[in-house]
């Protein structure tokens, strides 16, 4: 494999995301529709970097109130308690309950922040035309894409708890404003991942004729 791999775009070919058919656009046109499944065809996702940046920044903004504001309001006979995510982690931390505490810590605090940081890293490296660690960056992207949806677990747990524990007047649980921002972080990072075109990672390498293998 000594040949310099050529990307489809360099050959003027477009790959259909839906059915996988390789085709080239009509002359002069950059976009078209798949002759087999009529899926929209583009060389690269439109304004991928810009959109991803927008979502990442929005997610980063939402991440702050998500961690400051309470996610769960517990009303018992002893009064109302409001707990943020971090307080929940501390609350769950006990000699027997520490695994649960760790799960919440990972799923709710570390993963969202890691996603934001990872996306930002990918965007910066693409914009700078980096050609290093292409494979690792791609793996990172795959992980981010895969893991993103699991962060919603926290939102689901909270909403389930709020729906189930309604033993008024003894006890009731209601979601706090932090939960909304937390859900926004998860959704925005997933949208950002969706907007990011991983092919951009190796475009720079292809342009510079870096050999693989």
């Amino acid at each position: 494999m000594s040949a310099v791999p050529v990307s489809a775009m360099q050959q003027g070919l477009q790959n259909c995301h839906a059915c996988g058919l390789l085709s080239y656009p009509e002359a002069g046109a950059e976009e078209g529709r798949c002759p087999r499944c009529s899926e929209e065809l583009v060389f690269r996702k439109r304004a991928s970097i810009q959109r991803t940046w927008a979502f990442v920044i929005a997610a980063a903004i939402c991440y702050i109130p998500a961690n400051i504001l309470p996610v769960l309001n517990t009303t018992t006979a002893t009064g109302t308690d409001s707990d943020t995510i971090l307080q929940g982690v501390i609350l769950l931390w006990s000699p027997t309950g520490w695994p649960l505490s760790l799960i919440v810590l990972f799923a709710s605090i570390m993963i969202p922040s890691a996603k934001i940081i990872a996306l930002a890293y990918l965007l910066i490296s693409v914009q700078r035309g980096s050609i290093k660690n292409n494979g690792q960056r791609l793996r990172l992207f795959r992980i981010v894409e895969f893991i993103g949806r699991w962060s919603m677990v926290d939102v689901f747990v909270d909403t389930f708890t709020a729906a189930l524990i309604q033993l008024q007047p003894l006890m009731s649980v209601s979601p706090g404003p932090g939960l909304f921002f937390f859900a926004m972080v998860v959704v925005l990072t997933m949208l950002g991942v969706e907007c990011f075109d991983p092919r951009l990672i190796w475009d720079a390498a292809s342009e510079q004729g870096v050999q693989y293998g």
Binding site: Q10, E30, A47, Q50, A54, F55, A58, L69, F181, L188
Partner: protein, 520 residues
């Protein structure tokens, strides 16, 4: 075509550069806007921060303990830390927005814990919910942010109309904060607080009397302790007095205004009154000018205690203040000097206003001198046979030896006479002693021998009687002989009569002798 493409180098297809700003940037802007808005609204929802100093943080929890005013949460304790000297606890509290107006100089804070004091069980809710901080909003207009919490919650929290009064008493009895105040057996107020005066002699009790009952408190009002049962066992017998079932359990303060002083204007707030021990004492105020005298008794003072009554022909005029023993080594005489206090007013000395002591002194000298000259003497009397209580009684003893009161002594000694009981006892003892001296054994012995002799005498008497009986029975020879003799006597008597008749008719026969039949 494909071959053509591969063989002919083609210009690179460059994706169209997106120069215009994508609409997607609206999302971070919206997110930022929402975030900023939430942040601002959250900042605005935070009121002022205050510090409250507590003696102890028991029951307080940072981030949990609420500040509660009339059941509304107006703040939360955010941090708790010790003072520099580790003696007290400083709690920072985050107040709700728009509470600045509450935080004035005389606003009070205290910890509400479950508290059972007398009639009041308060803070039961805190058993479940944990302690919270109670608050009473002050009336001052001066802002304040650093407060010192009250040790005990105030009994009367704002808004209840009424007035505070101050009571002075030497003993707290069963009184406590929250103890009810009664007016004609109706609960009209509570004890708000009490403090021991600096000199440690009197308690200053603040009571709160609700409107409209506070108008019945005037300068002549009497306050007394209605503490549970008031059982008095004195020389005048057993007296039980209570105010209500509640006061039996927890005590209380009762007040009453004598009817004749209804016209007086109501007292000012914080007017000072004396708290008497019972109703009787409240209506019988202690003497204003007590005078001390000494009585020296030679008899036993068993049953005489400080506080015992001193009466003058049944009217209470003072009390015993001290009883002690004294031995005169020269004469080896044992005496008991008893110190008493007399109320001159009760002896009829009129004290008008602030009578000059000199005048009072002159008056009492005249009075006491004249009383003593008329035979008034002090005597110990048994007041109550059941309890053995003894009282000092002044009474007229016209036969008493005349004495003169020595006014140079201090305290002045008044003359005494032995007590009635003692004199009676002495007499009885005398009799008993005499009885004791009688030789009962010898008398008994003699009586026994006498009785034996009597027995013998009686027996011989019986024999004699029997002989006599035999002698006089109808068929005894003596009796027959007696009959014959008597007949003889009868005959003799007849012949004697005949002789007498004859002699009557013929007295000459005595000289001439019987002449036979007269010759006719």
């Amino acid at each position: 075509m494909a071959d053509e493409r591969t063989s002919v180098p083609q210009s690179r297809a460059v994706p169209r550069r997106q120069t215009r700003i994508s609409l997607v940037w609206v999302i971070p802007i919206v997110a930022l806007a929402v975030g900023v808005w939430v942040g601002i609204s959250r900042l605005r929802s935070e009121g002022p921060e205050i510090t409250i100093t507590f003696e102890s943080a028991e029951g307080l929890e940072a981030g949990k303990t609420k500040i509660n005013y009339k059941g509304v949460d107006v703040g939360t304790i955010s941090t708790i830390r010790l003072t520099e000297d580790h003696q007290r606890v400083i709690a920072k509290a985050q107040m709700a927005p728009r509470t600045e107006a509450f935080l004035v100089a005389d606003t009070k804070f205290w910890v509400v814990r479950p508290r059972i004091s007398g009639a009041n069980i308060t803070g039961l809710g805190t058993l479940i919910s944990g302690s919270y901080i109670g608050m009473e909003i002050g009336t001052s207009s001066e802002d304040k942010r650093d407060f010192v919490a009250l040790e005990t919650p105030p009994v009367i929290t704002g808004g209840v109309p009424g007035r505070f009064f101050v009571l002075k008493t030497s003993s707290l009895g069963s009184l406590d904060t929250g103890t009810p105040v009664f007016f004609r057996h109706l609960q009209v107020g509570q004890i708000a607080s009490y403090t021991l005066d600096k000199d440690g002699r009197l308690f200053t009790i603040r009571i709160f009397v609700q409107t409209p009952y506070d108008q019945y408190v005037n300068p002549n009002t009497r306050f007394w302790q209605a503490s549970g049962f008031d059982v008095q066992l004195s020389a005048s017998g057993l007296k039980v007095q209570t105010e209500s079932i509640l006061s039996i359990l927890i005590g209380g303060v009762a007040f009453e205004t004598p009817a004749e002083s209804d016209a007086l204007p109501p007292s000012d707030p914080d007017a000072v009154f004396t708290l008497y021990n019972n109703r009787g004492e409240a209506y019988e105020p202690p003497p204003r000018y007590p005078q001390t005298y000494e009585l020296v008794f030679k008899d036993s003072v068993r049953g005489l205690v400080p506080g015992a009554e001193v009466d003058f022909r049944g009217i209470r005029v003072g009390e015993v203040t001290d009883v002690r023993a004294q031995v005169d080594f020269r004469t080896a005489q044992f005496t008991v000097p008893v110190t008493i206090q007399l109320d001159p007013q009760r002896l009829g000395v009129q004290v008008f206003g602030q009578a000059p002591p000199a005048l009072l002194e002159a008056q009492r000298r005249v009075l006491i001198d004249s009383l003593v000259a008329h035979g008034v003497r002090a005597q110990l009397r048994s007041g109550n046979l059941l309890t053995g209580a003894v009282l000092v009684a002044f009474d007229f003893f016209p036969n008493a030896k005349p004495v003169k009161v020595d006014w140079s002594q201090k305290p002045v000694e008044l003359p005494t006479v032995p007590g009635t009981l003692q004199t009676a006892e002495a007499k009885l003892e005398d009799i008993l002693n005499k009885v004791d001296k009688l030789p009962f054994t010898e008398i008994g012995e003699e009586l026994k021998t006498s009785l034996n002799q009597l027995n013998l005498t009686l027996m011989s008497a019986q024999g004699t009687l029997k002989t006599a009986d035999n002698f006089i029975s109808p068929d005894s020879p003596q009796s027959q002989e007696l009959g014959t003799t008597l007949m003889e006597v009868s005959r003799a008597a007849r012949s004697l009569r005949v002789l007498a008749d004859f002699l009557e008719q013929h007295p000459e026969a005595l000289v001439r002798g019987k002449q036979g039949e007269p010759k006719k």
